[in-house]
């Protein structure tokens, strides 16, 4: 049996970094990317300084995967950005950045990964949504909307890619203590967490657990699903 090749976006820090370690520990060959360089090292891990929304660099990354590994088994579209701001105070450049990374980036990686996966007639894609969408979180209008788009993309791609045995699912984390939510005021976070069925912060392990389930070969009948953590 060959080692699974797993591509994870946004691995410099936060959940993405945790997932890179998690899947290397599970025996995967992991390829990751982020805009800035990483300050850590890992065996069986290759890093690219790639902005997920830059089509040309994304294609180069996939060219390298095709050349070096000849296959891609799993894609985890973790890279994402947020910005806490009342909509009336949100500059257009922020809107563009969020949509580019969260929606366009996810789309480009899905598209290029699909091409590698189709030739092997198998594959697993996992996208990232957020509880900010169903909880209608004030101050996160564009972020929530961008992740709603990711949810919708996940559902349609699941249908378009089913004939090729590629599943497409999403995980929707609750707040997890990473840099992403650093700027959100404490009491706002507490109020948000209080609205979950299970009122606690999420952890990277919680996210990895859901992704493990989606990647499991036995999950070949699970597609187009979005699992929220915390009972949202």
């Amino acid at each position: 049996m060959h080692k699974p090749v797993t591509l994870i976006t946004g691995t410099r820090k936060g959940i993405g970094k945790y997932l890179a370690e998690h899947y290397v520990n599970k025996g995967h060959i992991v390829v990751g990317c982020s805009r800035s360089p990483i300050d850590w090292k890992l065996n069986h891990y290759t890093h690219f300084e790639t902005d997920v929304a830059d089509e040309n660099s994304v294609r180069q990354l996939f060219q390298m995967i095709r050349k070096n590994f000849g296959r891609l088994d799993n894609l985890i579209n973790n890279a994402g950005i947020a910005s806490m701001n009342h909509m009336a105070l949100t500059p257009l450049s922020t809107v563009n950045n969020i949509l580019n990374t969260n929606v366009i980036g996810t789309f480009l990686f899905c598209r290029e990964a699909t091409k590698l996966m189709i030739s092997k007639n198998q594959g697993r894609i996992v996208n990232f949504t957020t509880v900010a969408t169903p909880l209608k979180l004030e101050g996160e209008a564009i972020y929530a909307a961008s992740k709603a788009a990711v949810g919708s993309l996940t559902e349609v791609l699941a249908r378009e890619l089913a004939p090729y045995n590629i599943t497409v699912n999403a995980v929707g984390p609750t707040p997890i203590e990473t840099d992403l939510i650093k700027s959100v005021p404490k009491e706002k976070m507490q109020r948000l967490i209080a609205r979950q069925a299970i009122s606690r912060f999420g952890t990277c392990e919680d996210v990895a657990n859901v992704i493990d389930f989606f990647l499991n070969p036995k999950s070949d009948f699970i597609t187009g699903q979005n699992i929220y953590l915390g009972g949202v």
Binding site: Q60, K115, I118, S119
Partner: protein, 100 residues
């Protein structure tokens, strides 16, 4: 270059034909209809063809091409109509890449 690309397209059509009940008549060479009104491919097999051609071009010429680019999708006469139109279209794309 024309012959090399034609060989790639032909190989990919043969490969795609394995998925099809109604096989594209590849013995017609460049006139072999692919996609569109007289075509043999449905959208699923077109995807397989595009993936296979892109992969072979990248291997042989070390150039990552995206066949389904804006131009291809907006042209009046689809580059995916026949083996010949697809081959010519790829040649054009390759020329653009080498001049870029």
């Amino acid at each position: 270059m024309h012959q090399e690309i034609l060989n790639i397209v032909t190989d990919s059509v043969k490969q795609t034909n394995q998925l099809l009940k109604n096989k594209a008549p590849i013995e017609q060479g460049e006139n072999c209809p692919l996609f569109g009104s007289n075509g043999y491919l449905d959208s699923m097999s077109l995807v397989s063809l595009v993936v296979s051609v892109e992969e072979k071009i990248e291997k042989q010429f070390n150039t990552p091409l995206i066949l389904a680019d804006e131009k291809a999708m907006s042209q009046k006469r689809s580059p995916f109509a026949t083996v010949g139109t697809l081959t010519t279209y790829i040649e054009e794309l390759m020329r653009e890449v080498s001049h870029a």
